[in-house]
């Protein structure tokens, strides 16, 4: 009984710690997003009207930043036992971009600036781990180039802030899962405690009854 009470207290303290970490994370995300929005607004002002809008989005965009889901091995916890990881790069099972050769020609003909900013991931052997390797011969394109080659530094700053906020968001989701796992754990321990309490009450009642019968017999 004491062990369960100690465990309950421990889980509750961990739960409170996680909530405070959750709140702190939210504050970080809010700050990063605030800075990102501010720098974005500054970039819009600098670049002029219509230069930074949804009309400039690339219709062939491919996700460079993705999330992987992996399982956490926990005892008897089937729900919420997963964790998100943010990765950069393309995955092996991606379809090859249909106009890749076209984009390669464009890249070859364009200025050295664009060529310098393009990274090519090399072919790698298939290794089955929890995190997958980037695929072969995919060109990682920076979305900032949708808005021009020479973009203002405020736009790059904005991009940095949004990337950081995305990392914090994924961290927040993992903390949320841990909090939900703690809730499940707490509920289980509480149920165990209640069962033990009921057993103790029953055994006390039976002892009292025995005493009464003995007294009556005397």
């Amino acid at each position: 009984m004491e062990e369960i009470c100690i465990k309950l207290d421990k889980v509750l303290l961990e739960y409170m710690d996680l909530i405070s970490i959750y709140q702190e994370n939210w504050q970080k995300i809010s700050k990063d997003l605030e800075c990102g929005y501010l720098q974005l607004a500054h970039s819009k002002y600098t670049m002029g009207p219509g230069r930074l809008s949804k009309d400039q989005f690339d219709g062939r965009m491919q996700a460079v930043t993705r999330s992987l889901i992996s399982e956490i091995e926990e005892e008897n916890l089937k729900d919420h036992n997963y964790q998100f990881t943010l990765i950069n790069g393309y995955l092996e099972n991606d379809d090859i971009i249909p106009d890749e050769s076209e984009s390669n020609q464009i890249n070859n003909n364009s200025s050295t600036l664009r060529r310098r900013n393009i990274k090519e991931s090399e072919t790698e052997p298939n290794v089955k781990t929890k995190t997958e390797q980037p695929s072969k011969k995919q060109i990682v394109r920076d979305p900032i180039h949708w808005f021009g080659l020479l973009v203002p530094s405020t736009l790059r700053e904005s991009q940095k802030h949004f990337k950081q906020s995305l990392v914090n968001m994924v961290g927040l989701l993992n903390i949320r899962n841990e909090i939900l796992m703690k809730e499940v754990q707490f509920k289980k321990l509480k149920n165990q405690k209640e069962m033990i309490m009921q057993e103790l009450i029953k055994s006390k009642e039976s002892i009292n009854e025995e005493k009464k019968t003995q007294e009556n017999a005397l």
């Binding site: 909530i19 809010s30 974005l40 736009l155 949004f162 968001m169 809730e183």
Partner: protein, 115 residues
């Protein structure tokens, strides 16, 4: 949960929000277009609520999306759908927008209700 085995195919992060939020997060590299299928929706004051609802339902029923980010003020417009979403994947996260900063969502009072 029945969807757990398929989580390995879920890689994309979707976004439903105003133009600045979508632009910013697309700059972070989450945008993906595969033919007519996109993983983002720009919401402005002319966007009908039915379109937001349909897009949310579409994102939450797709098997390749792991996380759906949605601005809080947009989520308030489709609150019934967001609250009814109880699947593990995709996970829905409400984020603040430029004009609507983060409001505290009371969620973690679960344990205190049962103590």
């Amino acid at each position: 949960m029945a969807q757990l085995p398929s989580y390995k195919d879920r890689n994309f992060i979707a976004i439903i929000g105003d133009e600045d939020s979508v632009t910013g997060l697309l700059l972070a590299g989450i945008g993906h277009v595969n033919g007519p299928k996109k993983n983002f929706l720009v919401v402005d004051n002319k966007t009908p609520i039915s379109k937001i609802e349909n897009t949310f339902v579409e994102f939450t029923s797709r098997k390749d999306i792991a996380i759906v980010l949605i601005n809080q003020h947009v989520a308030d417009d489709i609150r019934h759908l967001v609250d009814d979403h109880d699947q593990a994947f995709p996970t829905v996260l409400e984020i603040p927008s430029k004009d609507h900063p983060y409001g505290i969502i009371i969620r973690f009072i679960y344990i205190f209700l049962f103590v």
